[in-house]
């Protein structure tokens, strides 16, 4: 059970959260300006690193907010967190 640092509520057990995938993949401001490949990259391509991973969690059964954290995908250690999307 991961202990996930919610920036609003403090560390809470994993079962209170839902995972939101890789962070910092912003929806393009004007999707129609993207060609198919660029749009597919936004939709589907992920960095999927072995190691530090910036990712989103939502504290569903707490403050219900999304936030970003950096977690090591090998050791499961959390490095830092930041609010917002």
């Amino acid at each position: 059970m991961l202990l996930i640092p919610c920036p609003f509520c403090g560390p809470r057990p994993e079962i209170e959260f839902v995972y939101g995938g890789e962070a910092h993949i912003a929806r393009p401001a004007d999707p129609s300006a993207l060609d198919d490949a660029a749009w597919a990259a936004f939709l589907h391509t992920r960095s999927n690193p072995r190691g530090r991973h910036a990712e989103r969690w939502r504290h569903l059964h707490g403050c219900a907010r999304f936030f970003n954290v950096v977690r090591d995908t090998v050791t499961d250690r959390f490095a830092e967190h930041e609010a917002g999307g």
Partner: protein, 416 residues
């Protein structure tokens, strides 16, 4: 050395001292016609079929540890071809046919056991989905039987049919489905490939992919550079990392999937049972252990270990299905790294780099695909084009939108 009962009996007379290595332990050569990176089931099968089907024998399989150390040795050993969508159906049925002849083909008993795969149906909506799947299978000549609750009860009377939330309303049975001994599949393909001249190089980690003018030249390894005009990546759990060495990014997330085995008990479950609504599947090994698994943990991970919340979910499903199991005990658990694609279906395709081929995105369905995956990947590498069986499993489907989404879950790898 051909395996047979006579050979075994002859060896018994001299204390089993005459056996020789099942495969050689060669030093890697400087150059091969084709390299397969990844000594799992898919990689070894690819090398075997390159040699057998296409006569390409100057091939090496490069494995960073020991062969079968990845997901090939970390799964629940289920084989089936009960797929729905056109892009999948024929492929998995081809795999089933290869399984059926595998032991004679490889001269190795991989213990393919067609004990039947029973998908339980717990609601009317699930029954409709099962009917559609069964009908699609039958139309393609694949065996499928839709059972009602009594039909299921006749097979597995000890299940709980009256759970408040998931009463058992029937099931979809594929009698030809079943299990195979996972390690033996690896060893059988390795031995058979080796006998056709393939070099199986263990403890040889690929550290770089050399590309020149958009064409692959070979790979850097912990044992030096190895040249080849064709390089196939079959590295589940490391696909993004290896593709990254060639400058590619993939529609893949890696997640951990836990699996479990119980203490050995006398025969109880004689088919494979899947309980989709509870994300649970179980069979009993030939040694008596109940082999079972559930869902992925649900967040990117390379940890090869999962957490207790998922363990609890799996055991809850277990107990919901088999209330008599409370006092049985889990003996061992393990985690494998699943390369989850964005539509839940695999990729067997050329890459944008000439001579570099991709075999990835198996999610947690890779084991059953082993022979067909190797067969199609070998075809794709040998002919530089997809076989019709894997034509839909192309990389550019994510851009074109021709997704193969069996579950209809959308681009959420943790939902497939």
């Amino acid at each position: 050395m051909t395996y047979s009962f006579l050979r075994l009996a002859a060896e018994a007379l001299r204390g089993q001292t005459g056996w020789t290595p099942a495969w050689r332990d060669p030093e890697p050569k400087a150059e091969y016609d084709a390299l397969v990176v990844g000594g799992g089931g898919h990689g070894l099968a690819t090398a075997y079929y390159l040699a057998r089907e296409h006569g390409i024998t100057n091939v090496a399989v490069l494995e960073k540890g020991w062969i079968g150390s990845g997901n090939a040795g970390r799964n629940t050993t289920i084989i089936r071809s009960n797929y729905l969508l056109p892009g999948n159906e024929a492929f998995y049925e081809h795999s089933m046919k290869l399984w059926e002849g595998l032991e004679q083909d490889l001269n190795y008993n991989a213990m393919v056991s067609q004990r039947g795969v029973l998908n339980l149906v717990n609601s009317d909506a699930a029954r409709d989905a099962a009917a559609r799947r069964g009908n699609a299978m039958r139309l393609h000549g694949v065996d499928a039987e839709l059972l009602d609750a009594d039909g299921v009860r006749a097979m597995v009377p000890y299940l709980d049919f009256d759970n408040a939330r998931f009463p058992i309303k029937g099931g979809l049975l594929q009698r030809r489905g079943g299990t195979a001994r996972h390690d033996a599949v690896v060893w059988g393909f390795a031995r058979a490939a080796d006998r056709r001249g393939v070099d199986i190089v263990q403890n040889c980690e690929v550290t770089g992919i050399r590309v020149s003018n958009g064409r692959v030249m070979g790979v850097e390894t912990t044992r030096g550079f190895i040249g080849a005009g064709k390089v196939g990546l079959a590295v589940a759990g490391n696909s993004s990392r290896l593709a990254g060495m060639a400058g590619m990014r993939l529609p893949i997330e890696s997640h951990v999937l836990q699996a479990f085995v119980s203490e050995a008990i006398k025969p109880l479950i004689d088919c494979v049972i899947t309980f989709g609504a509870g994300h649970f599947y179980i069979s009993q090994s030939d040694k008596g252990g109940l082999v079972f698994g559930g869902d992925i943990d649900g967040y990117n991970s390379y940890a090869q270990r999962g957490g207790l919340p998922l363990v609890e979910d799996v055991m809850e499903a277990f107990m919901a299905l088999l209330p008599l199991a409370g006092r049985l005990r889990v003996l061992r658990s393990w985690g494998g790294i699943m390369d989850m694609s964005m539509d839940g279906s695999p990729i067997i395709d050329r890459s944008p780099i000439e001579g570099l081929y991709l075999n990835t995105g198996w999610c947690y369905g890779g084991f059953k695909a082993t022979p067909a995956s190797g067969w199609c990947f070998a075809w794709t590498m040998a002919k530089d084009e997809a076989h019709p069986l894997n034509a839909a499993m192309r990389l550019d489907r994510f851009a074109s939108g021709a997704l193969i989404d069996e579950k209809g879950a959308g681009p959420y790898p943790n939902k497939h």
